[in-house]
Symmetry: C2
Amino acid sequence: LDEDDNEQIYRLVQPLHTADIADLFELTPRDDRGKLALALGDLMSADVLAEINDYVREDIIDALPAGQVADLAAQLETDDAVAIIEDLEEDEQRAVLDILGPEDRAAIENALSYPEESAGRIMQRDLVAAPETMTVGQLIDYLRVRSDLTTEFWEVFIVDPHYKPIGTCQLSWILRTPRSIPLGDVMKRDQSLIPVDLDQEEVALRFQKYSLISAAVVDDEGRLVGVITADDIAHIISEEAGEDILRLSGAGEGDINEPIIDSYKARVRWLVANLGTAMIASFIIAQFGAAISSMVALAVLMPIVASIGGNAGTQTLAVTVRALATNQLTQSNTIWAIKRELYVALSMGVSIAIIAGLGAGYFFTNPILGAVIAAAILCNIVIAGMSGVIIPVILDRLDQDPAVSSSIFVTMITDSMGFLLFLGLAVASNIV
Amino acid sequence: LDEDDNEQIYRLVQPLHTADIADLFELTPRDDRGKLALALGDLMSADVLAEINDYVREDIIDALPAGQVADLAAQLETDDAVAIIEDLEEDEQRAVLDILGPEDRAAIENALSYPEESAGRIMQRDLVAAPETMTVGQLIDYLRVRSDLTTEFWEVFIVDPHYKPIGTCQLSWILRTPRSIPLGDVMKRDQSLIPVDLDQEEVALRFQKYSLISAAVVDDEGRLVGVITADDIAHIISEEAGEDILRLSGAGEGDINEPIIDSYKARVRWLVANLGTAMIASFIIAQFGAAISSMVALAVLMPIVASIGGNAGTQTLAVTVRALATNQLTQSNTIWAIKRELYVALSMGVSIAIIAGLGAGYFFTNPILGAVIAAAILCNIVIAGMSGVIIPVILDRLDQDPAVSSSIFVTMITDSMGFLLFLGLAVASNIV
């Protein structure tokens, strides 16, 4: 790129798959992306654009005129075109939509009318539907002559006269059936219908649970309006599962291509909250100032109690958040899950308490100090385990995302209780 | 269940999808699972068994005689049967394999010969392959008469005489093409071939990247040996993405159905390591014993510096681990990513340092103490940000899983440096 040898670049990139070209853009420094797009010319296809990371795509689209964006969008399937257009500013959206043909425009405007991250945004409108009276032979003939139909489909949906799905035929079943058999005898009646306003996370869970390759999307009246396929779902599953780790650690979107200012805003909020919880812990320590100045060993040991508690809490939190996200933890087994974590916490607490207690008692030649830190660690690990499961469950019941704010609460509890238990027990045991 | 009314249970469960029956088992208390399996009789099908959580399945299989397990395994597709049998003990595996028919046994033994979590374990052996000279009409006729072929396939693989794949036909393309056309003219030559020993995480990434619905699996010599479909991949994507959060927090497998003893073992190891790092931090604090006993405010404030640093480190760590797992962070943009985190850390560090510095200076009416904590926080956040990106990248280069041990190192650094910076600066500034 530095040598401006566009021909050479074109030749190097030509054999690559569109997904690999998309990767190339993501790995190219920000300032060179426009230059690269220019050098690629017609290799910079709509499919490449569809597979690029959201943030990187914005950089490229900002550099392109609306007309070219519209051209690219028109070449895409509706779901991919929507993914590109929904990220544009209001006025850019208008400009692109105005240039599109009426059919594409209607399809994209319709998709944009559904809530963000709903089935309506990710579904594909091009599908093949047939009445149950049609025979296998008639269907095959119909598919061969109708050149305007999509060539990318995995199931034929069987619909009634009101266009409501009554069954589905995998293409393999159709291929294995003699021409004279009506589709009604080939189809499976039992199928997963996806409501058009269902959240994409729920859609992904259904695909996983029922091992779906594609599924019909229906509107409020139960009419067939689109289809979602497993390849559209793969990146949603990955995103949703990956989100939890980022939310739990307060890293916001956590995309390395996110602008620095957005990363700063998302993360600094979290650190300010953390500053607040740390101040509560400091306030507790301040109450024991006299004890600490007469026995510095307390200041030396107290971070251990808080740190171990925080770690145990994070472990339970991670397990609980994953179990909630995958629907493995529901109302019916909450009590059982809490008991389970209690047993794990008790056994870990006893082990760590013994090691830390013996170590501290020996090192400071003060067995009572050892007993105090052992008791504090045991209690704090149990408190950590209990809050690590109960807090996310409560947030989930209140329809809050348990990954987002649980860890602030859990850390606050394990820090404060860690200092309070250790310093309080030390004073109560008269060793100071 | 408590009333032992098996007929009632059967009636209630009968209308459910196999995946829902599997969920029911997972939500049933452990002791009642055997009883439920008994009550369900023939509803307790092989498909139900295949969809149940690994740990819950072990409970059920342990309760069933080997003969019945073999019956159930024989009804399943190879990949699902392998998933069940690979979890059994060696001698149970033998017992089940001995009962299976020779064909099923050979297929399963072959699958078990591939490494765990490789493509060979998750692939399906039943597939449809054809030579490129076959016409569409010949293929359809062949599919209609050969009743022993699988009915679940999404692509026809085109192979050469050595059974090496040379192209692939989606079934929709075949259905839309006249009978006389040879498959060689319908197929797409360019396809993603999966080596049979490829790790399942890599397989999942390829499915995501190239939006695959199914893909051919080839052996060392490039011969077609199986097929993997997107529905098998969905739960792998979810598992792999969810694993990172559990590993990063040291929660092991993190499955709520895991036996308590296994959870204990996985997690206590982590807490022991944490105890070790906390002791290093304590050792550093101990060096400043005189300073602390003459100025208790130091003991009150020092956990804030460590806590904020730990949090900032975890944020960067989560972002970096996700970026590595999704192949967004590679050798070519590491320097750029480190610079990016440096800017984010600097801007957060300045913000938090100002708030904490002003607060501490005002509260303890000691502006120098405020300046000391501000400087310590700024430095510690920058150190946290740098170690949060550099440590996982180094582990990744050394072919270690960056999610597993990064957070121990990062916490150790942010804790130790937090105390060292704050207490060291306090002593150096002569406020003590």
